[in-house]
């Protein structure tokens, strides 16, 4: 190693060592219970980094345990992160909303960008009353895991899996880079949308379920444990004006019918298999 290279290497070591020494982290866990009285309480969680796990618990409260891990490259940025990345909790008799960043503040991403290298992982463990309407999301380094809610569920992730089990109804379940598992405790009666770009989709429903589905599954196998029938669906036609031109968009999904049909599920994936399973 010549002299210049040696100096450069040592300088790199010093910088790396300084950066490692300057990193600041803090971790804390807290729990809280929120009484709710609504007939159909609502739970909203909008996370960025970390898991969201929801289970059914007591009838009159939403109980939350949150593990928070804050990290920043320096003490200065660590202090800044407290103003830019935080958990906003709003609770009343109707339900609980927990959003990383103030719910009404749409500038949370620019604020986070100002605090470069900062992040706050929130791991949510929540129990809700039976029948709660659940709407949960995260963005990265975490999964969505909801079971036994009893009420309608919406769940989304960007870089991670989504698993929603023991459902009675769903509305939108989606990921971008992650597998999506949706299983029903009973035959659904409402329309639902299930999507991912990169990942398998597994839909599990009880035997005897009546269901129509519009499939847009590009790559991967489509396998069903039900002896269902292909169904011709009308194409969806959207027309609008955009930058001075008229745009018409036509989409043709593949239809399938389970049993005698029922609510319509929209199922979309790009890279992944679709499995339709019968509850055991």
């Amino acid at each position: 190693m010549n002299k210049q290279a040696t100096i450069a290497f040592l300088a790199l070591l010093v910088v790396a060592d300084h950066a490692a020494a300057a990193a600041v982290t803090d971790q804390k866990t807290w729990s809280q219970s929120f009484p709710v009285t609504a007939a159909v309480p609502r739970l909203l969680i909008d996370n960025i980094w970390g898991n969201v796990r929801v289970r059914v618990g007591s009838a009159r409260e939403i109980a939350v345990t949150i593990d928070e891990k804050r990290s920043a490259p320096s003490q200065e940025l660590f202090e800044l992160s407290k103003q830019t990345i935080f958990l906003d909790v709003q609770a009343n008799a109707d339900g609980v909303a927990m959003v990383v960043g103030k719910p009404e503040d749409t500038t949370v991403r620019p604020r986070i960008n100002r605090c470069r290298g900062c992040r706050v992982d929130y791991q949510f463990e929540v129990t809700v009353p039976p029948g709660t309407q659940i709407d949960v999301s995260t963005v990265t380094d975490g999964g969505i895991d909801v079971a036994g809610g009893g009420g309608p569920v919406s769940a989304s992730n960007v870089n991670g899996p989504v698993a929603v089990k023991d459902l009675q109804e769903c509305s939108e379940i989606e990921s971008v880079n992650g597998a999506v598992e949706v299983s029903f405790a009973r035959a659904p009666s409402r329309d639902c949308s299930i999507k991912t770009i990169n990942g398998d989709i597994t839909l599990t429903v009880p035997g005897g379920t009546g269901l129509d589905a519009a499939l847009s599954v590009m790559q991967g196998d489509i396998v069903s444990e039900f002896d269902l029938e292909p169904l011709a669906l009308p194409a969806k036609i959207d027309q609008h004006k955009e930058e001075g031109r008229f745009v018409y968009h036509i989409e043709q999904a593949a239809g399938i019918r389970l049993g005698t049909g029922g609510p319509t599920f929209s199922i979309e994936s790009l890279n992944g298999d679709l499995r339709i399973r019968k509850s055991k």
Binding site: L44, D46, N47, Q90, D94, A97, V99, G101, P103, E104, D105, T106, V108, R109, S137, V139, S156, V158, E174, S175, V176, I197, L215, S216, V217, M218, Q219, G220, D221, I222, V223, S224, F226, D227, L228, E229, P230, L231, A232, L233, P234, A235, I237, Q239, G244, R245, F246, V247, Y248, H249, I250, E251, Q252, A253, A254, G255, E268, S269, L270, N271
Partner: protein, 286 residues
């Protein structure tokens, strides 16, 4: 409890619009499948920005049957069928063919220019029947499992079909038609004076139909096929054209043996070329 959801991954929704950029592979093979439920044709009428003025249309789809018919009209009427090709679902009673599935089409209109494109997987087949104003220039292209058919157009055509046939009839204007592995049949109502008509295929027969009174100078080239004509051709003396180029330290020589023949005394040049096929010059009415 209305709450703005800043980080909801709407990206997922946006990206689904481009899902069709992929190819559907990995389907069950060597299995029989039931007859699929057939997708229905959808009809769309596209109003033009300048009704009554000539239309320009561009269609570029990997697997498509494209049919364009000129009519006395001031809009574009489209009949579109999107099918899933060989996409199957595996069920306990065996694989079943699906109808549709991931097929999408986007149509744009601006200033009488209509473009139709699709990012649908090549295994999905799209059928388009477009009824357009007669005065139109068309640029139509497909690759697989399709056919290009054009009729009753006054305007210039550019037609490309790699593995399927091209048929154009009652055309007044110049036609550039290219296929690799299939036939080309073009019927001209008149030979365009200023345009360049050129029909070429690698492995297909080419039929050019001209009005009985048409005046043209034909440049005919078939390496391994016959030339058949309903017209009395006045064959001009010609000699092989040899192009020599020196590049990258080597020398390449390209030889073309084109028969030049005039019809009814000669006129605009029409080039017809195939490697493995017959060239037929047919006489139409007029």
């Amino acid at each position: 409890m209305s709450t703005a959801r800043t980080f909801i991954p709407r990206v997922a929704i946006a990206l689904t619009a481009v899902l069709g950029a992929a190819v559907a592979f990995g389907q069950a093979r060597n299995a029989t499948a039931a007859t699929p439920a057939q997708p229905q044709a959808e009809t769309i009428t596209i109003p033009l920005s300048r009704p009554g003025d000539p239309l320009a249309m561009h269609i570029d789809i990997i697997s498509a049957h494209i049919e364009v018919i000129g009519e006395e009209r001031k809009d574009v009427a489209l009949s579109v069928t999107l099918s899933s090709g060989r996409r199957k679902i595996i069920t306990p009673s065996g694989p079943k063919l699906l109808a549709g599935g991931g097929s999408g089409l986007e149509i744009n209109e601006r200033d009488n220019y209509v473009s139709i494109e699709s990012d649908t997987p090549p295994t999905n087949r799209i059928t388009i029947v477009a009824r357009v104003p007669r005065r139109a220039s068309l640029d139509l292209s497909t690759i697989n499992e399709g056919e290009i058919i054009v009729r009753d157009i006054v305007g210039d055509l550019q037609l490309e079909n790699v593995n399927g046939p091209i048929t154009a009839s009652n055309i007044t204007g110049s036609v550039i038609a290219e296929s690799v592995n299939n036939l080309i049949a073009v019927g001209l109502a008149g030979v365009a004076a200023g345009g360049a008509t050129s029909l070429s295929s690698l492995n297909g027969d080419i039929t050019l139909t001209l009005p009985a009174s048409a005046k043209a100078e034909l440049h005919l080239d078939t390496s391994r096929g016959e030339i058949v004509s309903d017209f009395e051709l006045d064959v001009k003396p010609s000699k092989p054209r040899i192009e020599r180029s020196e590049s990258r330290g080597g020398v390449s020589v390209r030889m073309e043996d084109v028969i030049v023949a005039t019809v009814n005394g000669g006129g605009p040049v029409v080039r017809v070329k195939t490697l493995n096929g017959t060239i037929k010059i047919a006489k139409g009415g007029g």
